[in-house]
Symmetry: C4
Subunit: 214 residues, 4 copies
């Protein structure tokens, strides 16, 4: 698949190190059931601004080095492989937040249920685990995770996300209805911590929703 025009782009040690981090993150996320079938996608930014990202259509719990590809900051393939259709959602996060070095998109039952039970946003407050998110020092914090309608037109979806981000500070993740959620961080480990924290909080809110509707 790899044509001659890409042969100049050699993959660096940094690329392979980040690829290993994404592979390990995928095994963990899959062990929880948060990337069923071939759903989800993950990426990490390299120091030269290029991005290591999962190839389209691979199972995220059984990734191998060959399943991680290289794109530039605008999402163009640098190695001839085909990146996820949702690459633009990754690159626009990196463009907005210079400190972000990893973006994770799981596709969990909890995120899917959250979008169905809570309409346009879910509010999370009074949880110690909010402190797992950057810049939060007390449970007495209120954060909003927006929920966007799903859209196969990724540029249009990305534009809606961008408009929301322009208007709101302190966004730590967003849900796409019927499609999972996105979160990010200053490293793969940080993004994974945010992912675990949001999953935990969605889980609790869903269970309480059932109870409080009684």
């Amino acid at each position: 698949m790899q044509s001659a025009k890409y042969s100049m782009t050699s993959k660096t040690d940094e690329f392979f190190r980040k690829a290993e981090q994404l592979i390990a993150a995928g095994r963990f996320i899959d062990s929880k059931g948060w990337v069923p079938a071939t759903s989800g996608n993950f990426s990490a930014r390299l120091s030269d601004g290029n991005i290591a990202i999962t190839v389209s259509g691979r199972h995220k719990g059984r990734l191998e080095p060959d399943d991680i590809m290289l794109i530039d900051s605008r999402g163009q393939s640098l190695d001839g492989k085909k990146p996820s259709a949702e690459t633009l959602l990754h690159t626009s996060i990196y463009q907005r937040f210079p400190q972000v070095q990893a973006v994770l998109h799981p596709h969990s039952v909890n995120a899917t249920l959250t979008a169905r039970l809570f309409q346009h946003e879910i509010v999370l407050e009074d949880y110690e685990l909010l402190k797992a998110l950057p810049g939060i020092a007390t449970h007495e914090t209120r954060i909003v995770v927006p929920i966007f309608a799903n859209d196969q037109d990724i540029p249009r979806l990305a534009a809606r996300v961008e408009a929301y981000m322009d208007a709101h500070d302190d966004v730590h993740g967003y849900i796409i209805a019927g499609h999972g959620f996105y979160t990010w961080g200053a490293s793969v480990d940080d993004a994974l911590r945010h992912l675990e924290a949001l999953e935990f909080l969605f889980d609790i809110e869903i269970r309480l929703h059932g109870v409080t509707r009684l």
Copy 2:
């Protein structure tokens, strides 16, 4: 158990390769709790039209090569072992769909609950994960998974399935009440992707059913 009349049928490298794929699929499916006790059965078609299929009564999470047997396209044992009582449900899928090379039958809590909560069919729509199924390119799709009454008379059950298939296109799986579900694909990996996607969607629909009945 293996009588002289079967000694001529030598198992090919392809047989053992497919057997390994079924064994690995079984470990994964069992790790999710979708083949409790000795429930479920799995098969893969070989290039000569014969079929590798799980032997009756083995635990699907702890399969060994000896637990996979060889049958012909009509379901007759080629090695003297006893195939699953439900072999006919596998062979009729292979006969109907030339491109299908694997059939998986898990027996999960979610499939069992789906049959109890939704009567004759479950409708799945507006889920990104529908794209894990073949020929689906957008979440704006509506698929129907039929639910058949359980029956110990397998030819009679198979005939009901066949009649439904004759009348409907785009069937990606079916549920047998109190008995799990069947799905299939162009490879063991593809069938496993369909299995994971359907399990995920059944799970969500069951949880929403509880909520919306409130």
Copy 3:
């Protein structure tokens, strides 16, 4: 702990083989969360009528050979170790059913909830998985799993179980309220298959109970 008077009882290869089976069963049962803390106990009968049984107070998911002890058919220690307080519940099963060679007692959330939601018995019918139990050839079967009140007086509890068994055929297991359940089989594997099947069916009935009470 092992006094001189026990030194004559040498443990056979068969003892150690059965001990390994109980250890492996414990790892599996614990991986499902069905023997939390140090709850549960397991045993297997040897060909001479003596019984290998878990020592009191050990974690059943992390058993080592030293955690399996030898008792005679009346429950007397043959190696100076202290068997479970509930040994009598094991020995009376072996006495009643000559074909039974293993007894497993998990302590699961589902068994505990079953006892709270269903009063004196739970009825299981119309499930394919009933065929995992001995002598059942069709889902069109109705079995009753009795629920007994918990009791620290084990001889009194055993007598109540015995009285029930005397009056009923085809008992495949019983629940002790707040305390888990007992099941058994012709081998450790068979007993484990019955355990998985009953857990699965309790799980479904509990979930349906929540729904149908709406």
Copy 4:
């Protein structure tokens, strides 16, 4: 990070043995999903009165020896590392109970839901698994697990816990709302047994709460 003034404090074999026990406990607790993100903290007392405790901000399922640090009985770092902000909650348990040698603080969905569904305390009675707690010999026991409001002012929170402990006997653990729970024991294994038992009982009470509210 480790400054010269700490160089005199050599870590003993006992320290490393206890550290290994905490690391193994962390792996088990994380496998259950009870310490998401970097939540939770664990400690074990050494024979000289110093305490091995998890370093602040590490993932408790992936601890390495370097993630366990040494503090004195008043919570002062003896190796220059930064202990958890909640160290005072550990040291006051050790001060109160001379027989306690380990304190575990998981941060589970069940503990978080318990705090939301049950106001100031949760009552546990009539469960065989209560016998996993020290000094309890029958299921006919009633224990109370108090629930405290969360507070970033740890000395103030510790004082509220202390006041409760002064007024009540037989406290086996306590919940901090939105923040998990604390339990302890005469060894890491004992504390882990108490943790598993309490988790199991919270799980059942939460599920019954849903049902009985119907």
